[in-house]
Each structure stands twice: as C-alpha cells, then as structure tokens.
Amino acid sequence: MTSDDTTLDASAPRLEVDALLDDPRTRIVVCCGSGGVGKTTTAAALGVRAAERGRKVVVLTIDPARRLAQSMGISELDNVPRRVKGVDEAAGGELHAMMLDMKRTFDEIVEGHADADRARAILENPFYQSLSAGFAGTQEYMAMEKLGQLRASDEWDLIVVDTPPSRSALDFLDAPKRLGSFLDGKFIRVLMAPAKVGGRAGMKFLNVGMSMMTGTLSKLMGGQLLRDVQTFVAAMDTMFGGFRTRADATYRLLQAPGTAFLVVAAPERDALREAAYFVERLAAEQMPLAGLVLNRVHGSGAAQLSAERALAAAETLGEGLTEEDGTGGVHTENNLEPTGIVDLDGGKDASGTAGGLSPAAADPVAAPTSASAAQLAAGLLRLHAERMQVLARERRTRDRFTALHPEVPVTEVAALPGDVHDLAGLRAIGDRLALDGTTTDPDTDD
C-alpha cells in the first residue's frame, strides 16, 4: 500500500540478493558480522532461497540456535552435510546443511596427513587435545578448513558459510593465518630442537638467549607441559608446511571471484560500527564484498504521521479523558452497568481516588464508547510515536554507515515480532532479503 515512504534512500545501491544467488559463478557466500545480528538465520535463509531457486546448496553453520538446527535436521554434530527435508526441490535444487565439529575437523586433518602411528601419537597428546577442543583461533581455522574441503569436493553449486561468533567480526580473517604461522613458525622449531639451533657457529649470542629461554620456559610451564608440547611439535613436524599451505589456499579461495562476502548487521550503533570496520578490512585484503544485509529494520505503514504529531494528538486525547474521568483511564465495567451512567454525581463528592467514577460527561449516550475509543486511540498513537522514534534512530545509524561507504549495496530485512525456527520462517526472511524495502509490508502475519 505504501511504496515510497520507507524504501531505501537513493544514496545506497540495492543489494540484489536473487541475482547473487542465481549467478552460477557465485560459489561461496560468506556471512560475517558481530554477534547477535542474525548471521546464522541469514545464512540459513539464503540457503533455503537458493535451493528453492534451483541451486544445489550446502549451508555450513558454526553455532546455530537449537531450534533452528532442529528445523533443518542438523541437531547432531556429525560433521557431514545432511539433506534438509521440506525444501521445495521443484526447480531442481537441493539444500544440505551441516554444523561444524571443530575437534573432529582437526582430527581428520591429522589423520589425513600422518601415518597411523604418528596420528595416534598426536591425537593422544594432552597439548593437542586442549588445542583442538577450542582455544583462540581453532574454531575460525577449522571453519575455513571445512570450507576448503567442501569447495574442493565440488559437489555443490553454492556453499553458504556462517562465521564463528568471534569477539570481533574481524577475527575469523586473521585466525587461520595466525594458527598457520604459529604451527610452522620459528618458535615451534626452537621448542622442538633447541640444541640444534644453539649448536650452530656464529649463533653464540642467540645460544645464550636460547638456553636461558628454554630454561625459563621449563620453569614457567613446568617440565611436563614443555615435554608435551615438544612431543606434539615433533609429531606434527611433517604437517607444518601443510598447515601453512592450507591456510594460504583458503585465504586465496576467499579472494577468488566466485566468493561473495555479505556483511550482516542490525541497525544499531555497535553492529554497524563493526560492519564498517569489516567492509574496510575486506577491501584491504581484496576480498570480494557483495553488500550489507541490515536485519531487523522497523517500518511503519503510517510513516506519514510523525512521532511528534502522534504524541501531541495522544496528549490531546488524554486531556479530554482527564476532564471526563479523574483517573485518566476508562473503566468499561462501570460504563456498562445496566443502570447506565446516570447518577454518579453523588459518588464524585465521596472520593478523590475516583476508582471507577467515569464520565458524567457532556454526551451521556456516546460517552462510554468515545472515552474508551479515545483511550485506545491515544494508546495506538503512543505506540506509533515509539515506532517512529525507533525508525528515526535506525535510519540515522544506517545513514552514518552509508555516508562512510556509499558504494556498498544494502538490503534491509524487516523485523519480525518473534524468532525464526522453521523453514516457513526462513522462507519469509528470504523473501524479505530479496525484496528489500519491505519494511512497510503490512502483512507480517502470514
């Protein structure tokens, strides 16, 4: 019914989600953004939409809400994609989904790159067990590793990836590199063979530093932990080069033209600040950014009525009520008394609290309905004023982002009153993602 009031400003180009999903050259879509902005739901909704538009899709999620995972049939962590039932496959597409099992992914790398004995030595090492169970960077690294594997299998037209809930949206770009460089870095070599390094001619100075250092390390970590680390490192030796190579390969994959990054945000200051950092970072790393998905945007079908006018009108109505009814409220029970509203005058003198002393007002016939109608109207107007204030705030926040990055295409997704945890809900989100500017859509109760 309204098409011009809350659509996106001309300053930000529109993100054409369907065009992106339909393009056979799009092979990977990465959803990133700060925590709590709806990344996982967005990734799932994109997956459903792409599959129903005819592509063979796999969605890799990291940490989905339980009910969302159940609705997609991936509540078990078995680290392999499962076909999602209930998706309309008429267009020839399919949807598969999987939840990342970080430890198993790490174990698989070890098993795939070392002979059986060595693999067992690594898997049983206490240091390895802690490392693989999820310390800083491992999750990010394993997500990228899994993405690499899925892409290499070439089994899917499109891979949609949800990124880990990092402390900052930028973490997942750095973590794989960091882990890769540590695992085959200088320090690990020192740990592994301090004697070798120290024994070389011309390294005397370093030698002193080294022995002092390994001594310190031993003191600090306790001899047993140092030994665990050393055996781990020794066992992993053959794999180090591999780690670096793999991290580099994944990194290049992310830069490839078939990859599209979607930065997901909510129209809130912090989320959009993170989004802006992310956009800048992606540009610096030459990663292909497709656009910004702005979730949970509010709209109003009555945007022509400003918050100020609505409040003023509510106040006018409220004044009318206070004159008629000392409580400022309306008590329909009293008004509907079968005796009608005739002799309340006596009661008026009796009490100042006026519990139910309603309108001995000018128009005795219309009074009850008009008073309750006025109260309801005032409530609706105050609600509308609140909505318009939210709208204005969201718009200001969004405008700040588009002023900084006018080149970034944007799509807005209208806020839903509740959470999404079924395919129908994901489909509805998909519609909103693709349509854009649907923030005024009045029929949310489909």
């Binding site: 402390r167 870095g185 006018t316 939210v390």
Partner: protein, 343 residues
C-alpha cells in the same frame, strides 16, 4: 558480598553497557571500582567517550551521587566523603604475560628475545588457555591487591567478559590449565586464580534480552556455570520496553464499532477526517497492525520473562534508552541498578 563481578551475555545484549553501569552503580561515595575489559574491543572507552584505554589503570569517571545527597557533599566531599570513582583497564594478554615474566623472573632482555621469536604471540594466542589465565589472573590480582594500610585498593572489580557461549570455558580454563601443567608456576597461578573465581567473592552475572535466543543461552549458561562450580550472581534483563497496549486492548479494538470510534477520536485529535477514506480512517489499519505486532511481542516477552524467573536467580531490569546509550544514559542505568538493591 561479591567483589569480582563478571558480566557476560549473548552478543548484542549489551553486556559492555551493563558492566559499565554496574561499575558506576557500585562506585558509591568513598568507594572505588575497577572496570576491566578483556577482549580488546575498546568498548569501555567508546561508552565513556574517552580515547582508547592503554594497558594501565586510570580513573575514567566518578560514581553517580546517591539519592538525596546534596551536590556539594558527593562531588566535592566538602568535609564529607569523596565521590565514588570508576577506574578502567583494558587487559592485553601479551603485555600481561610480559609483566608477569618481569615480575616473577626479572627477564628483561630475554623477554624481548622471546617476543622476537614469536613466543609471546604463541603463548598468548595458541598455548591452551594461557591467554585466558593471564586475563582472569590480572583481574584476580586487582581484586586481591591491597594498599600500604592493608585495605583493598578496589572495593569491587567488574569484568566485561566474553559472551555466554564461552564464559564457562573462559573462567574454568584455569582448571584445565592446572590439569595440563601439573607443576610449575603456571600451575600455581592457575590454582590461585581458580580459588578466587570459585569463591563467594566472585559473582557471574548474565545479561539478556526478553527474546528467545538470549533467554535460552542464559538458561544454558547458568546450567554450565553451576556444573563447573562457578558462582552465578544475577540476571540482568536489558532493554526492556513498557507495554503500551496489551491483548485486552486488542479485544476492545475488535469490538463492534471500535474502529469507527477510534477513527473519530483520531479525527478529534486533529488527525484528519474520520469518514471512510479520510486521513484519520487511513491511519487506522497501519496503527492496528502495529498494535497487533506490539501485543504479539508483549506476549512473547511475558513467556520469556517467566522462563527467566524460573531459573531462580535474582533479576534486575534496565529499560531501553530510546536514544541509545550515551554517558548520561549510562549514569541513568547505574542509578536504576542501584535502586534495585545490591547486585
């Protein structure tokens, strides 16, 4: 009463804001609190509208005056007590490790050599949990620190901690490290930190919204913390909004003639003609739609609220600030927290 307040919550629930408000709330007259950040985001500096925090404790705010105290009393301390103070610290794991090495081993240049080799990076990023031990260790050190007279330097330490999904692991990592490093200084350090974290001196508070996912995470988080033997404090329900209309109102609206009555009322309030197709009449459908959405949300929020209270922890509520959180808003939230009793 707890002296170390660990504030966690799902991403997007406003845990940094709540941690800052709590640090202010606890900084009553004559008291000093330390607000600690561990994730390197500089969220505190942004909230307090100051430049990025260095790795150094510094005063960033005075506590709000208590209700009824006159201005001169509380701020000036004219003959009375000095205003409460909030200090802040952004803990950096790498610097904390170097400090630690310096303090215990007088490493000096060897520390720099370690850094050059990437050992410090290694230790703070990869070595299992060492990073977390350093971060929690620094906070615990601040909790236990005393001045020359033997009084605690900080009356309370508030930590803006990692999100709910990681909090138990973050706090309990010391146990794991203690298990991994069975002897040596790391082991001892981990044990000492764990003693503070598991004592009644510590309280872990979870921030949530009245939405399904944050509430679910809160319930899960509480269960995990309890299972790990970590002391859970309270639940802070953030960004609550008043219910302007409820289902009762909607029922009224559904009554016969209500629509025309509302249109008439809108028209009387100066919003155009009430007849069919008039300006006031055209407002009704969108307004009713908003009312339905609102009522649906209120209903959902009630259900979520019931789930939260079923957890059986003290709850605190903070209203949504319509204009977002600025410094004035932060003080408002701090006062609101204070009004709700000791946390």
């Amino acid at each position: 009463m707890s002296r170390l307040h660990v504030v966690s919550g799902k991403g997007g629930t406003g845990k940094t804001t709540v941690a800052a408000a709590l640090a202010l709330a606890l900084a009553t007259e004559g008291r000093r609190t330390l607000l600690v950040e561990v994730e390197g985001r500089q969220g505190i500096a942004q909230l307090f509208e100051t430049e990025a925090l260095p790795y150094e404790e510094r005063k960033i705010a005075v506590g709000p005056a208590s209700e009824g105290a006159s201005r001169s009393d509380s701020v000036r301390g004219g003959g009375g007590r000095r205003a409460g103070e909030v200090h802040a610290l952004a803990i950096d794991a790498e610097r904390a490790l170097l400090d630690y090495l310096q303090m215990f081993y007088k490493l000096g240049s060897a520390g720099r050599a370690l850094k050059k080799l990437g050992a410090i990076d290694f230790a703070t990023t990869i070595a299992p949990g060492l990073r977390d031990v350093l971060l929690t260790g620094k906070a615990c050190e601040a909790v236990r620190r005393k001045d020359k007279q033997g009084r605690f330097v900080y009356d309370a330490v508030v930590m803006d901690a990692p999100p709910t999904g990681r909090i138990t692991r973050f706090l309990n990592v010391n146990d794991e490290v203690a298990g991994l490093a069975k002897i040596g200084p790391i082991h001892n350090q981990a044990q000492a930190v764990m003693r503070v974290l598991k004592s009644p001196e510590t309280a872990v508070h979870l921030v949530t919204l009245l939405e399904e996912m944050p509430v679910q995470e809160t319930a899960d988080g509480v269960a995990e913390l309890r299972a790990a033997g970590l002391p859970v404090g309270g639940i802070v329900i953030n960004m609550t909004r008043p219910a302007l209309l409820d289902n009762g109102d909607l029922d009224l609206l559904a009554a016969r003639g209500a629509r025309a009555g509302v249109a008439k009322a809108l028209s009387q309030a100066g919003l155009g003609g009430a007849r069919r197709g008039g300006l006031a009449d055209r407002l009704i459908d969108p307004l009713l739609e908003q009312a339905r959405e609102h009522a649906e949300r209120v209903e959902l929020e009630r259900a979520e609220y019931a789930e939260l209270t079923a957890i059986g922890l003290p709850t605190y509520e903070l209203e949504l600030l319509p204009e977002g959180v600025d410094l004035a808003g932060l003080y408002q939230l701090a006062r609101d927290l204070r009004k709700q009793g000791p946390i």
